[in-house]
């Protein structure tokens, strides 16, 4: 990878690429965005259709607790993946099971999990500050490109490929199940399996994007691209394409803002994606005016 970074830096020095690409961490960040955009954008419109926005927020908080558990188990500060994957997957299974079986409204139940994981995470973080400098944990909470390593990039590519393959394989059934569960069941889709399956895919994608976007803000990139895409799309295919495009431009724009103004990457990406959302809202309003 060092040779690749040196080659890109040389191109940047010659003026063939933006000057920021002289830094390896920015090249890594851009590669991460290239991988993340199709995954999160692809999942995003299904998240909105399946009404799982609040579920994604709860997962982000669960990841925070997962980081704390991983660090307490003795994992490296820069890669507490065991704790994150483990706790988030367990939370996902529990949330989906309780949501399916309890008689309370789903948002109430997810709210309970949301509060529980956040409370647990905060208690564990207090314990953690006795072992770690709290400034180091901030990079996990808000996302920092500077902490992304080649190992993280490899993991992201691996999980990205896995999620993409599984998503493509089950996409039609997932979409039908999202729009009309009864029809999907009649068509042979296993609705229960699909619900757990999609939640697990979402969990894997959220966990690998945490280093860049941060535990507190990751839900934005899972929800807002689809919300923005919905404003301008006129078919399911264009809805998917717009979601991916919005996720990519928000990621790349957030990176640029984060580097230029030295603000956390997660915050910058969320600002970028929110700006795009309001632009699409304006486009939609102007289209309606023209049609009226």
């Amino acid at each position: 990878m060092t040779a690749f970074y040196a080659w890109i830096a040389e191109l940047a020095r010659r003026g063939m690429l933006p000057a920021d690409f002289q830094y390896p961490f920015l090249i890594r960040g851009f590669l991460c965005v290239l991988v993340l955009a199709p995954i999160l954008g692809g999942l995003s419109h299904l998240v909105v259709t399946r009404r799982m926005a609040f579920f994604s927020a709860a997962l982000g908080q669960a990841a925070l607790t997962g980081v704390a558990i991983g660090l307490l188990l003795g994992e490296p500060l820069n890669a507490p993946y065991g704790g994150m994957f483990g706790f988030c997957l367990l939370s996902t299974l529990a949330m989906v099971y309780v949501k399916r079986r309890a008689t309370l409204p789903p948002d109430t139940l997810i709210g309970v999990f949301h509060a529980l994981t956040l409370g647990l995470g905060l208690c564990l973080l207090v314990a953690l500050t006795r072992q770690f400098n709290v400034h180091q944990v901030e990079s996990v909470l808000f996302g920092s490109l500077l902490t992304v390593t080649d190992g993280d990039l490899l993991l992201l590519v691996f999980v990205g490929l896995l999620v993409s393959i599984l998503l493509v394989r089950e996409y039609n059934r997932l979409l039908l199940d999202s729009l009309n569960p009864s029809l999907a069941q009649v068509a042979g889709a296993q609705s229960i399996f699909l619900e757990y399956f999609f939640a697990v895919l979402l969990t894997l994608s959220i966990v690998v994007s945490l280093k860049i976007i941060g535990a507190l803000l990751v839900e934005a990139l899972v929800v807002v691209p689809a919300a923005a895409g919905r404003n301008v799309a006129n078919s399911t295919r264009s809805y998917l394409a717009w979601s991916i495009a919005v996720a990519f431009f928000a990621g790349a724009g957030g990176l640029a803002v984060s580097t230029r103004f030295l603000v956390p990457t997660g915050g910058a990406v969320v600002l970028a994606v929110s700006s795009i959302f309001f632009m699409t809202l304006a486009v939609r309003a102007s289209r309606r005016r023209r049609l009226a």
Partner: protein, 213 residues
């Protein structure tokens, strides 16, 4: 005229017990997997245990070359002198005044062949002492100090390698940084050194310092 035949499909949902069993089985698999992974990570050898609590842009000075270790030690000494002057005079001393007082590494050291041009750069609560080498091939050094923000309640952080308390009770955030391309560094204020290719150096690291409290 075509006729359509109605198809009758009976959908049997999984029983609550069967679903719970499947969820419990999956959860046990995840827990065992994490357990094995954590055990494997704990057994990773090499310099991993020491680097474990550091971010990618942070290093322990013990792992650096002797010339850098010497400069780091001198900078710690120089920083304490500068803090003492800041406590009494309410202003950060210039590198020239520190050099005149014989404080290393600002003062000329006849035993050292390499020399640095030191600059004090300040903006708001940020203070930089930047040392740029006069000869090529040497690293640049940076002492980054963040003063308490006026009007903000006193920081309750414990004193450690990165937190030094002034005589008036104010808590300073201090850090020491090195940059391999010393001649390429411009003497301007550095707010976020890690974003500009600097490496933060620790004597013992944040985890060990916190464990001593």
């Amino acid at each position: 005229m075509s006729t359509t035949t109605a198809r009758r499909v009976q959908v049997e949902t999984l029983s609550a017990r069967a679903e719970l069993l499947a969820v419990v089985r999956a959860s046990m698999g995840i827990t065992i997997g994490v357990w094995i992974y954590a055990a494997m990570m704990a057994g990773v050898g090499g310099n991993a245990p020491r680097q474990r609590n550091l971010l990618p842009f942070q290093k322990l000075i013990a792992d650096r070359v002797p010339t850098e270790q010497r400069m780091f030690r001198e900078l710690q000494e120089g920083l304490l002198e500068a803090e003492a002057a800041r406590s009494t005079a309410s202003a950060w001393p210039t590198p020239d005044s520190l050099a005149a007082a014989g404080v290393p590494p600002f003062a000329h050291d006849p035993t050292q062949r390499s020399s640095f041009v030191w600059r004090l750069v300040q903006s708001g609560t940020m203070v930089n002492y930047i040392g740029i080498p006069t000869t090529a091939g040497l690293p640049a050094w940076l002492l980054l100090v963040t003063e308490p923000t006026p009007g903000v309640p006193p920081d309750q952080t414990f004193e450690d390698e990165e937190h030094h308390r002034l005589q008036d009770g104010g808590m300073l955030h201090v850090s020491t940084w090195v940059h391999g391309d010393g001649r390429g560094i411009a003497p301007r204020l550095v707010r976020m050194p890690q974003a500009e290719g600097w490496t933060q150096l620790y004597a013992v690291g944040p985890a060990q310092a916190a464990a001593r409290r």
